[in-house]
Amino acid sequence: MATENPSPSTANEGQEVASSKTPSAMDTTPIQLGQIEVLQILNEHGEVDEGLEPNYTNDELIDMYTSMVRARAFDKRMLTMQRQGRMGTFAPNLGQEACIAGQVYPLLKEDWYAPSYRSFGAQIMRGWPMEHLMRLWAGFHDGFPPPQDVNDMPFSIVIGSHVLPAVGIGMGMTYKNDPNCVVVNYGDGASSQGAVSEALNFAAVYKAPVVFVCENNGWAISTPTEKQASSEHFAKRGVAFDVPSIRVDGNDLFAMIKATEEATTRARNGEGPTLIEAVTYRMSLHTTADDPTVYRKDSEVEAWEKRCPLLRFELYLKSKGVIEQHDIEAIATACDEEVIEARDKFYEMDPADPTEIFDFMHIEMTEELKEQKDEYLKRLSNKGVTDE
């Protein structure tokens, strides 16, 4: 955790005339910035830092491992479906499964999660049925709203634009004395958006219970982090705004869980926001519309393959005697079957209703939109799309 304690929130102060700094002589002691800690528990060889090794039951360990495998199975099938023309443009998460699973593992149902488009692994863990996510990526509007009992924001298509609303949810929690918290996820690219800096500032000023997870996966489409920012340490952004910050091996599920747990604990205790920089790597395409061979070397990707989050977790589980190779294969098969089942459900679902376009623009449709809808319905009927 980084540096100074943030100064206390002013939100609950009294009503007297505010007083700015005390006009004593200028303090000329240099300002110590401290350090940003870097957390890794399980390294790429499957070796665990024994002092930090968490104490999970075998079932829990298998469960968290399965979450990652399931995400990867989903990823793979989605790519296939996309290649078959049965899915829209899709953003794979390959290689980032630990990061994604770890950032929601410590969350309660009552907490909120504000994902980015590459967070489907977390969405599945939060309770989004996979066929629902397939609808979403296939261009069905009804795929976007979170399921009824899931406190998630719809994922953000506009880079960084969900971060301020996530802070607002946290501010709402503070206002209502709600002891829950918000996790918001965004990328190294998103960190360049001014709105994300504003969000860090608001969260710090109002001590909002928000965990910022900046998922540094090395790339923003074709832009490497060196062109995105001068420092490779995105955790420093927190320092600027007095948000305690940590850098975490994002391919290490244990480290991600521990960092998130500490951050959510701070948030629940009224100690305000935390920034977690999760260092990971986008192993695959930016989206299915992208061709990374144009802008990055295969050798880079290959080097990162060795740091695969699943691989090291398997090594660990095996070395602990929790599972054996045939269990790994069984889990993979089971997860793939789940995805296939979801896919088949998805294939059976109703086609989209082209008349829905007007229905959610307002809570109550305005007269002018009713007229426009009529005009559109006439078009559909003229085209024989509907038989009105």
């Binding site: 102060e13 924001m153 301020l164 607002g168 504003e198 969000a199 002018e368």
Partner: protein, 327 residues
């Protein structure tokens, strides 16, 4: 019942709505101890506390973006942007989240927030402090855009906006913030959003306006009546999104002639839209081309020369006369 300025009437609406519903929270720059640069939120922080009246950091995008989140979470934030020129800083959050989250989530999350902001010229202000860009918001699907014209309707519309579950842009004509007083009932009063008001009835021409220029139109209509024997329907839009096309069409079908007056820039402005709708609904009734007196397509003038920029009574009168005389 007391005689209030628009600033006082808005303050009353805020106080009463905060009193009624503890989910109503105010956010903005300098709205707390200072009561806002125009004093619309005067004394509300001392009355309701610092956690209900938030002096925010100087970041409009941040204010609107966090307010969206608070609204999704279940509160009813009422945001003040100090001058409408600075809504540009929050354009992305308004267009991408405030206006669309309800649609994006098919109604699972509504965004019951109000963005209040003073707009308009002729207060001897520097650049960026006189903008009338309501057309940006009218062109943005998903928003309601409300513009009062006097203390009483300002109070009733603001209360309605706060109670509405829709995201509302509430544009306050600051040129008339303190220009006159009106009787405003003590008990809460609401006005339905989206309905125009026929301020006066006539038969020769329809004059449509809203906000600060509405007063000028009423004055002109009186001159027309008294000095030129021209009787005008005067319509106060009160909402530029949605637009009450029916009230407009009914009037223009009666008078056959129409003049639109507003201070926003002309090209793709509200007057253009009204002309388009009248063309669509009243073509066969029209006896003369519809005219518009609007702000010009320039930067709002530096204040030494702002005096002659906005629509004035005399020109409204002469233009209306020329429309009535058109054959």
């Amino acid at each position: 019942m007391s005689k209030l300025t628009m600033v006082e009437a808005l303050n009353l609406a805020l106080a009463q709505e905060m009193d009624r519903d503890s989910n109503v929270v105010l956010m903005g720059e300098d709205i707390g101890v200072n009561g806002g640069v125009f004093r619309v939120t005067k004394d509300l922080q001392s009355q309701f506390g610092e956690n209900r009246v938030l002096d925010t950091p100087l970041a409009e995008c941040g204010i609107v973006g966090t307010a969206v989140g608070m609204a999704v979470y279940g509160l009813r934030p009422v945001v003040e942007i100090q001058f409408s020129g600075f809504t540009m800083q929050a354009f992305d959050q308004i267009e991408q989240n405030m206006a669309r989250l309800n649609n994006r989530t098919q109604g699972k999350y509504t965004v019951p927030m109000v963005l209040r902001t003073p707009y308009g010229g002729n207060i001897r202000a520097v650049e960026h402090h006189s903008e009338s860009r309501e057309a940006y918001w009218a062109h943005t699907p998903g928003l309601h855009v409300v513009i009062p014209s006097g203390p009483r309707n300002a109070r009733a519309l603001l209360a309605a906006a706060i109670r509405s579950d829709e995201p509302v842009i509430f544009y306050e004509p600051k040129a008339i913030y303190r220009a006159f007083r009106e009787e405003v009932p003590d008990a809460p009063e609401l006005l339905e959003i989206g309905k125009a008001n026929v301020v006066q009835e006539g038969s020769d021409i329809t004059i449509i306006s809203y906000g600060a220029t509405l007063r000028t139109c009423i004055e002109a209509a009186q001159d027309l009546e008294e000095d030129h024997n021209v009787s005008a329907d005067v319509i106060d839009l009160l909402s530029v999104s949605p637009i009450d096309t029916e009230t407009i069409a009914t009037s223009v079908q009666k008078t056959g002639r129409c003049l639109i007056v507003n201070e926003g820039q002309r090209t793709c402005g509200i007057a253009a839209e009204l002309i388009a709708r009248i063309n669509e609904t009243c073509f066969e009734y029209l006896e003369a081309p519809i005219k518009r007196i609007t702000g010009f397509d320039t930067v709002f003038p530096y204040f030494q020369v702002e005096e002659h920029f906005l629509p004035e009574c005399e020109e409204i009168v002469s233009t209306a006369k020329s429309i009535v005389a058109w054959e």
